[in-house]
């Protein structure tokens, strides 16, 4: 272990034990399977200008060069040059690029997991246009195959893969869901044989924000939309995505895909969970092997559509001066920029944007599984200070977001820093300000 910016030893679960040779072989096998023309072009195009460092909040907070985004894929650049680039035989013959070693991979665990939220801000600054975040995601895949995913992510992914839940809970999520409905006085549609919209839920909401689960059910009920949760495909999160285990990510996504198909859903509705949106909206079809036979929509997109169609009417919410955190996976990596703002406008919210907002927003600091990695906490807190300052600088008294993991990260920061703001759910605000047909406000 080390301080916030030093080197770390690998932090893995006992079941990830491998020989150094097997680690390198696993990483290189994954690398060989994944490196295609697109990633090769990205690796070829880097001019070592280092500008990507200036987009990364880990670098901005620490000024530690090891957090330069493109450096986080250095072993894989090295492997590409040596094994797969157009002049690979020359690199090998002249010894210009050394083989990647197990020690190198171990050292890079901290850079690829603890200090990267996969937020994609670095992909917006590169003068060559390189999508650095896409390379980092591929590097995580190789690290997983090397047995070097951090133990928290590995274990949660393994548990989710085998049981559908990322961790053991006192009560199964199905029972908790029904209890939430009872507690909040709303019908939670569960295991209907057919529905137009299939719902799923962040386990973060089940455990920490049950009111958000109730809000989702209430909004669906209010709109009269045929919808259902499914016991065999409840959890929105995908820890396979975080851990870099692509085959596990696929299996976890398949649970939801198969359930959505079985109920003949036209839409799979992603709740307030950023990375679930990336995994389902922008990656699931590739892992499924064919286009999905339904639409994947984030709940804010879905509600904004209902708003535009005139089926959703909202009362004015008296939130006072308000700011909104754009979850990276929804906005920067997912293109869901206008929908939350359309909802806030309909709610009559006095929105005060942060200095960096929309596609350029800073990550909450917990994305990419970082919130789950215990040893990453000191660095995460250091990185978050800039974000909290931006929120404070808006002068807003109310703080909204549309991702439960972001919300959880800010709540954690609230406790750590004795911060005076509470993150609220935009979905809950919508659910609390529904206008029934015929009523006037």
């Amino acid at each position: 272990m080390s301080d916030a910016t030093g080197a770390f030893a690998a932090d893995i679960a006992p079941e990830q034990a491998k020989t150094p040779e097997d680690r390198v072989a696993g990483a290189m096998r994954s690398f060989a399977q994944e490196v295609g023309a697109l990633s090769a072009f990205r690796l070829e195009s880097c001019i070592h200008c280092g500008i990507c460092a200036d987009a990364c909040h880990f670098y901005i907070a620490t000024e530690d060069p090891q957090y330069t985004p493109i450096w986080k894929v250095e072993p894989f650049k090295q492997a590409y040059k040596r094994e797969a680039s157009p002049f690979a035989p020359l690199y090998r013959a002249l010894g210009l690029k050394r083989k990647v070693t197990a020690d190198q991979l171990v050292q890079w665990q901290h850079l690829l997991f603890d200090s990267c939220n996969m937020c994609g801000r670095c992909s917006l600054i590169c003068p060559m246009g390189i999508d650095v975040a896409a390379l980092i995601e591929q590097a995580r895949h190789a690290m997983f195959e090397a047995g070097l995913a951090p133990k928290e992510l590995y274990q949660k992914a393994a548990h989710q893969r085998s049981t559908g839940q990322p961790e053991v809970s006192a009560e199964p999520y199905r029972a908790q869901l029904l209890a939430i409905g009872k507690r909040f006085g709303v019908e939670v549609p569960l295991d209907k044989p057919e529905a137009d919209v299939m719902l799923c839920v962040p386990r973060t909401d089940i455990e920490h924000y049950p009111s958000a689960v109730a809000a989702l059910a209430r909004v669906m009920q209010h709109l009269g939309i045929s919808s259902t949760f499914r016991s065999d495909g409840l959890v929105a999160e995908n820890y396979g995505y975080y851990a870099g285990g692509q085959s596990w990510q696929r299996e976890i996504s398949l649970r939801l895909i198969e359930q959505a198909i079985s109920v003949k859903a036209k839409t799979l509705l992603v709740p307030e969970c950023g990375h679930a949106y990336t995994a389902l909206r922008w990656e699931a079809a590739d892992l499924y092997g064919k286009p999905l036979p339904f639409n994947v929509r984030h709940v804010t997109e879905f509600l904004a559509d209902e708003l535009q169609a005139g089926r959703l009417k909202l009362a004015q919410a008296a939130t006072g001066k308000t700011t909104f955190h754009d979850p990276c996976q929804l906005v920067r990596k997912g293109g869901v920029n206008e929908a939350p703002r359309a909802l806030m406008k309909a709610l009559g919210i006095d929105l005060h944007e942060m200095k960096n907002h929309g596609g350029f927003s800073f990550c909450c600091g917990g994305g990419g599984g970082v919130l789950d990695i215990e040893r990453a906490a000191p660095l995460r807190y250091r990185t978050m200070e800039n974000k909290l300052r931006e929120i404070d600088d808006t002068g807003a008294g109310t703080f909204l977001t549309s991702c439960s993991d972001c919300r959880r990260t800010f709540d954690d920061a609230k406790a750590h820093f004795s911060w005076n703001k509470t993150p609220h759910s935009l979905l809950e605000l919508v659910a609390n300000n529904l206008i029934s047909a015929g009523s006037r406000t």
Binding site: E44, H48, S123, N337
Partner: protein
Amino acid sequence: MDLLGFARGPALKVALAIFCVGVVWRFVGFALLRLRRDLNKPRVSLLGSWAGGLVTVGSRSWPHPEFIGRTGAGEALGYSYHIGLFIVVLLFEPHIVFLGSLFGFTWPGLPSSLITLISVLTLTLFLAVLFRRVTNPVLRMLSNFDDYFSWFITALVLVTGLAATAHIGAPYEKLLAWHILSVDGLLVWFPFGKLMHAFYIFPSRAVNGALLARKGAVS
């Protein structure tokens, strides 16, 4: 055959051949790798995607306002020496004559004295860029042989060119021979190192911009 004859004769021909074959191979080498189809439903049409890619080609020429405070100075330095190089390479009369013999047409140039001034400025910027590379912790960490050799061979072309036009240190013909030999060296090195970014920059921006636009995301 004297040194000048060698430099602009067989050496230049070999260098040009290596340059052309190398550049083509550098593209073909990775283009032959698998290209996976994206099966996820796009947010915009294919045309919209590529329009986004084209916009990115232009928009990445300068940092977004959100980044400019941190990167503006570095990027300005980078662009300045590139502009200086373009002016010297493309608008110096003897270069125009040489390039005209390759392409079959010529264009008006700038006075030699102005080119000399721009060359000196460009060389100064080159030194500043090198200083920044060795003193900035991020750049120093990322830099390898390719970065330093690419800098060296390009600076050598500038220095020998300046020496030849100013007749400094040796007879003109000898200086010109060294200048052309340094250009030959640059052409040989070009496909093997980062100088290839001259060919990659626009396609790279376009492809990645199109992929972001496909998602409706900012690029």
